[in-house]
Symmetry: C2
Subunit: 119 residues, 2 copies
DNA sequence: TTTATATATGATCACTTGTTCATATGTTAA
DNA sequence: TTAACATATGAACAAGTGATCATATATAAA
């Protein structure tokens, strides 16, 4: 069936649609929201975030821990910084990364809970 | 710098690494977890999930609401079903979709909160 | 200043992903 | 049965993503 832009049926529940429409975040925020959640959609980043939820770690520690290259790790940390998930402090040559706030931990825990319940 | 597999420095914090290592989810669960979180990383799916957190909706309603084709909607709903985020009941020709559990709503709310705080 | 090292970044490429088009399936009414 | 419609699915393609390689920057020690 080709898309005609709308349904050709009396089964469209217009009132419900109108009511629901109000709850949808503004278009401008949707992209930020998606970018934020994208960070959790990669196994490497999940490991990074979970690790940082336990302790701050330097780039070198993280590469060692995940067994990925320093370059790959640095790239990942950059994207995590860009969406405000992690912050870092510099101590000489070393950059210590940590979580920016508690949201990450909360989300990870809910996700883990979800997976466990689905078994 | 080429990756040599590990850091050539005394700045590796081995004890911290060992402690943190235990908290990382098992490899087998990491993929499920990533697939679960990936669902939140797309603006169309965020809209779908947010809408369903308010009310159950049929495929037709959802296409109308998001202004995307019925086909695209059906594909999205399929992937959402595969990771146990939504369920549906059939009433004649109509398929009414709804959230499978409360985790989705919780995660969306935390995400929205995160975005708002980052401003 | 020169060397070593910790981290960052740009370019590239294989792989993934979301949409579209075309078509199939399933259900109801005529 | 036939027509209409609600939903599902397969193939294909453009756009996005994560890792790698090469290289750059920054800091500390010699």
């Amino acid at each position: 069936m080709l898309n005609t832009g709308d349904c050709q049926t009396h089964f469209v529940h217009q009132k419900t649609i109108d009511r629901v429409k109000e709850s949808i975040p503004k278009e401008e925020n949707l992209y930020d929201l998606a970018d934020f959640f994208k960070m959790f959609g990669d196994t490497s980043r999940i490991k990074i975030l979970k690790a940082l939820s336990i302790s701050e770690l330097c780039v070198c520690d993280l590469s060692e821990l995940l067994n990925i290259s320093q370059s790959a790790m640095s790239h990942q940390l950059r994207t995590l910084r860009q969406v405000n998930l992690v912050k870092f402090r510099k101590q000489g040559k070393i950059a210590f990364y940590s979580l920016k706030d508690d949201h990450v931990k909360q989300i990870l825990d809910i996700g883990i809970q979800h997976i466990e319940e689905a078994l």
